[in-house]
Symmetry: C2
Subunit: 119 residues, 2 copies
DNA sequence: ACTTGACCTGGAGCCCACTCCAGGTGTGAC
DNA sequence: GTCACACCTGGAGTGGGCTCCAGGTCAAGT
């Protein structure tokens, strides 16, 4: 099975080297194998998981919650309902976030128009 | 002209007392008058400005940029074009933010559906 | 006269999510 | 063999944005 060097994962995911190590240290990334010389080798699965992490992070999920999600994933298939619940809740928050953003945007646009008229 | 006590502004704006003082200290809130006893009294204008600040904050504008905006406002009417430019730029970022959020949301929904099928 | 409560100050502390650093090791190119 | 380079470790430091604290002042109510 193919594996990736740290640099390759940085390249593929956009996370920094330090961030990858940080995520591993806090338990957001687990089962990272090492070469005989002690260097990390990541799997396709890690890269995919980092895609999910990136998505959750970009949508404002705090690390603590991602950790809970990671634990559910590690705990096995019987946690799937919980994972769905967690994701649904998050999805709702994202929806609310988008709605708020749209609302605030109207305020900004109104402000811009006000200034344009005042110019 | 009517003025507001700190507690009233907290009530009206949702910002905390400490946050109001903090904003004043860093220059995001200026010309706050005091009573003889040294207590703050805010004007309608402050409350409105805090509405703008809240909007910009909620849409992710960093304090440093709000400060620049505040300085433009203080500098007078000849900065209106600059203010519009700043707001337009911000508005574009907010648009991009919404787009990203929507995109990530699709990923989350797909993940949920995947789990639902796997259940 | 006394208590309550809203307010004041300067400065320390906190949380989050990284990010950087010093000092060290192993691998490949020349 | 020596150089650069990618990587390793533990731990300290950073930046943003508040948030809290100790100790004090004043005004109003009882």
């Amino acid at each position: 099975m193919p594996s990736y060097t740290p640099a390759q994962v940085v390249e593929k995911t956009g996370f920094g080297l330090d961030t990858l190590r940080y995520y591993e240290k806090i338990g957001l990334l687990s089962d990272v194998e090492r070469t005989a010389a002690g260097q990390r080798r990541y799997t396709e699965g890690h890269v995919e998981w980092l895609g999910t992490v990136g998505c959750l992070r970009d949508t404002g999920m705090p690390i603590a919650e991602m950790l809970r999600f990671a634990e559910l994933v590690r705990a096995g298939d019987h946690t799937i309902a919980d994972r769905v619940a967690l994701l649904r809740e998050h999805d709702e928050r994202v929806g609310a976030q988008i709605a708020t953003l749209r609302d605030r945007r109207r305020y900004i646009k109104a402000k811009i128009e006000y200034y344009e008229r005042a110019r």
